[in-house]
Subunit: 176 residues, 2 copies
Amino acid sequence: MTRSGSPRFHSLKHDHDSCIDTAMEKAQAICIENNTRFTHLRKRVLELIWSSHKPVLAYDLLETLRNEKVNAQPPTVYRTLEFLLKHRLIHKIQSLRAYVGCDFPDQRHISQFLICNQCHQVVELDDPLIEQVISRQARKAGLEIVHQTVEILGLCPNCQTSWSQGEPADAIRNTH
Amino acid sequence: MTRSGSPRFHSLKHDHDSCIDTAMEKAQAICIENNTRFTHLRKRVLELIWSSHKPVLAYDLLETLRNEKVNAQPPTVYRTLEFLLKHRLIHKIQSLRAYVGCDFPDQRHISQFLICNQCHQVVELDDPLIEQVISRQARKAGLEIVHQTVEILGLCPNCQTSWSQGEPADAIRNTH
DNA sequence: CCAGTAATGTTATAATATATCATAACCGGA
DNA sequence: TCCGGTTATGATATATTATAACATTACTGG
């Protein structure tokens, strides 16, 4: 999944070990560049988010951490998420209150998210056309833009073709 | 603010009594059309949301109701909000966890929201260009769209020109 | 090694939202 | 009008999401 390529929903059983590795290497590099520490905790949380390859809830991260390491508390997770957001290594999906790995943390970009209602897989777009149209219309109303939240909910190709495919929705629910 | 017109941020001290009246009349009509009841509670909550003319938090509504009427509880508010959402009389701003009145409840539409970071005024767009561009790009990835969340955060014209103008942000904060 | 900063630990609590069962209000037909 | 079904609200409890505040530890540069 590259910036210029066509973003796609993953096929089922997509093996994303290489995605994770790539993400970790980029994260490492970004932390060095930003002169900040990629600690064990930060690395582990980012790995967990990438391992899921789906949006992850803060308290699910907390539970996982607790299974590995006693005494993680909510602030442990939220501070780490805050760090990862600040350095653009992850994004927050507002409509799900969940977090996903950023596909291109090394490039400044404005994201849009495609979210499958059923299997909850998320695809990150960096579509200049969407961004430009939104910017233009917002400026018409006089808005000086700070951030765009664009989250498109629907049914992904895998889930359109089957009822059993696309693992069940589990904990995550959404408001539409 | 009409569908075909140019949506605008309101000037300060905009007197929106007529907006509220119009909204209430439309709501009444829609409830009759949908064969459902526009009860005192539902009417009052919708009025409160419109009175603010800014996004309103659920627990602020609860507090207001309690000042008027003992014994309102969270479910009282959330059930009422659910009703108003279902009948498209209000929208939820995901990035603020807050609710705003819908400007054109009598027309099926796909909304985009312009949100001022400082005064928290919200403008609802129904921009076919934004909707179409998003739909096209999402379909390219194979997504069968169910809902679009488009929330553009920035600084509105009033707040760009002054520090004191645009009432302070109060309770509402956002994540960017 | 020391002092300053950054990161994490720890406790408490705030803010947002839902599940469940009980009661009341409304509505249509006998 | 009363009855029974449905819709709406009351009431209690609890789940979920997020932050404040202060203590301790770990790292970093001199």
